[in-house]
Amino acid sequence: MTSDSLISRRTALTGLGAAGFAATTGLSTQPAFAKDLTVGFIYVGPKDDYGYNQAHAEAAAVLKKMPGVKILEEEKVPETDDVSKTMESMIKLDGASLMFPTSFGYFDPYMLKMAAKYKDVQFRHCGGLWSKDKHPMNTGSYFGYIGMGQYLNGIAAAHATKSKKIGFIAAKPIPQVLININSFALGAKSVDPSITTTVIFTGEWSMPVKEAEAANSLADQGIDVVTCHVDGPKVIMETAERRKIFACGYHADQSKLAPKGYLTGAEWNWITVYKKFIADTQAGKAPGNFVRGGLAEGFVKMSPYGPGLSPAGRKAVDTAKAEILKGGFSVFKGPLKDNKGNMVVPAGKALVETAVELESQNYLVEGVLGSIG
């Protein structure tokens, strides 16, 4: 690094002296590190959001300690053509050969465009959109079945609620979010079918003011457990704690934000995925193109129990978790109606977490108060 910055200082002075423009052009396109495997992480929000981005950044922090790997990180990169330039800059200026653009909206068209342009760079996208017929082989996607975690959250919530009313603050009514809302509601209903789940959509992935308002409004309605699916659950957890209601976490461990009311949480455990990708690459193989996993595969984990969850509640969550780990468990089992009375899963049918139908889910199950507009 030292020698690199020495050269660069000289380069800068030359460059500033207008005449050296051409010289800079030649020097700055050289990748800085050639031997190590250079891996680029791109986040849509801040790395310390206690949420989606932090879950990835925590894994990246572990990778940084591994030998032979150089980790590049860039935070707050919008889902616009800016991310193409970020990828290109990591590839051209820093020599990255494995890219992890982690936000959903990075995939199409930005990552696909870069993958077509840089065929010897491997791109793996978090979100699970890759399909063999449509997308090039130097791209791929990975995702986790975190809905199971929200199902366990629902069981914990059912054991903590006194009012039998629990709440969910959601960003957008898209399938990935709906699976979580429905799983949470079904988890709670598996304990007590009379429990209702009130959902509020904020309309944005990250809008702390609206999220705090939503948490307050849920608390005002007598709802005493909340969870969420937004990029950064921070203010929701803090608001819940201030309003003395319980909270279940999402994305990362938020127990620090709500030491009294935190029950448990559905967390990503991305390090499992990233270690595998990097090990494959170092062994000279291309990393997997379509990688999925849930609790059993170590892609998803639960936060340690908080003081608000009773021993009976802990036992119920443990039992359900053991059941899920056995495999073949379905949250969505027929007969299942949506909250408008339509049959969405017929009797006798059970959808396991890998079922492809779930990925185009467009309903809220019976017992959820709210609408997807």
């Binding site: 460059g15 052009t25 801040p46 919008p78 330039k85 990591m90 959903f104 898209i174």
Partner: protein, 369 residues
């Protein structure tokens, strides 16, 4: 009050008979002030970096490499600058009349949406028909949206800054509703978008240079706006209005019409920015349009002191800082907010440099005048 504070470029003073060099010194003054302001901002920022234990020289080097050091970096910078040229005009044109419009973001997204929607039914007609239609629809929509603010100000005396901001929230909500509801392509599962305008109708990068097509459009529009503001009688009337509203009224200038027209034009520029983003980058309208270009445009317009030509270097400067931001995070481990700190320092210094004008006698008119 605001009228007096915001007025930046007083109508050109008739030069005294014996002072042929005054126009040159006047120009120099306009160049020296922002340069000094940038130097002040750079020194302040160096102190900030030193406090963080980082070398300002490394910082300059990385900004240079990330923003201007290679043709790739230039493309990166220009791509970020392209929409800013037009969104800055959305602030600068009404700004000439003393109006502070900060709701350009909604004009960008609604303009982009209108352009997409008009393109969908005629997508088969080919780019030579589709693209002009899109530009027309996008700028009409943007003009309508900001024009509404101008109308509220001119006719009802509603504060235009607040009105444009509140209307921006409304505009964003309408945009989200339409994109996620009635006009959503059902195939866009997890990122709600409208249907696409078709690859054949997309505006490609400028050949050979590989530069964002918004750059030439932006440059042409900036120059045209400069001519309008500084070389046309309508522009003169506008600047008189910005200089002194009462005097303009007393002169019988059509103040209300001028206000509304400046807002419509500004909004049309922002709407065009949205159109170009759709036609050149996304091919459809979705949340990617709401990337904050409307807000960064405010900063650039103030840095350029509402002068349409000065917008060009300022947009490149801020585009460059944006382009270098990633390299700074990666190489120096600085958080993303570092670039915002620098932008903030530049902004404050440039605003403070307003007081510099007219203070140094050497720059002022001489002779018998």
């Amino acid at each position: 009050m605001t009228d007096a504070v915001i007025a930046t470029t007083p109508p050109t003073v008739a030069t005294g008979g014996g002072d042929a060099l005054y126009p040159i010194r006047h120009l120099l003054e306009a160049l020296v002030a922002p340069m000094l302001a940038l130097a002040v901002a750079a020194s302040l920022f160096s102190v900030f970096l030193l406090a963080l234990g980082q070398s300002p020289l490394d910082f300059v080097d990385l900004v240079w490499r990330g923003a201007f050091g290679s043709w790739f970096s230039w493309q990166n910078t220009l791509q970020r600058a392209a929409p800013l040229l037009l969104t800055a005009l959305c602030v600068a044109l009404p700004g000439q009349l003393g109006l502070v419009i900060i709701g350009g973001e909604a004009a960008v997204v609604l303009g982009g949406l209108a352009a997409t929607l008009i393109a969908l039914p005629v997508a088969g007609a080919g780019p030579f028909i589709v693209l002009p239609l899109m530009a027309l629809a996008g700028s009409a929509m943007g003009g309508l949206w900001i024009g509404l603010t101008g109308w509220l100000r001119a006719r009802l005396g509603v504060n235009e800054t607040i009105a444009s901001l509140v209307l921006a929230y409304i505009g964003m909500a309408i945009f989200n509703h339409l994109v996620e509801g009635p006009f959503r392509d059902p195939a866009s599962l997890n990122k709600p978008s409208t249907y696409g305008i078709g690859d054949g109708n997309m505006l490609g990068a400028i050949p050979v240079l590989e530069v964002h097509p918004g750059i030439p459009v932006g440059i042409i529009v900036c120059i045209a706006c400069w001519v309008l503001v500084f070389r046309s009688s309508a522009g003169f009337a506008g600047r008189v209005t910005g200089g002194n509203l009462r005097a303009a009224r007393l002169q019988g200038l059509p103040v209300s019409a001028l206000m509304i027209a400046s807002c419509v034009l500004g909004g049309a520029c922002a709407g065009l920015a949205g159109t170009i983003e759709v036609a050149a980058e996304y091919g459809r309208a979705n949340a990617s349009l709401a990337a904050g270009y409307g807000y960064t445009g405010i900063l650039i317009a103030f840095l350029a002191r509402f002068n349409p030509i000065a917008i060009l270097p300022m947009a490149v400067l801020l585009g460059g800082l944006g382009a270098a931001g990633g390299l700074l995070q990666r190489r120096m481990g600085l958080p993303d907010a570092t670039v915002q700190v620098l932008q903030g320092m530049i902004f404050v210094s440039i605003l403070a440099s307003e007081t510099f004008y007219g203070r140094i006698r050497w720059f002022q008119p001489r002779g018998n005048g």
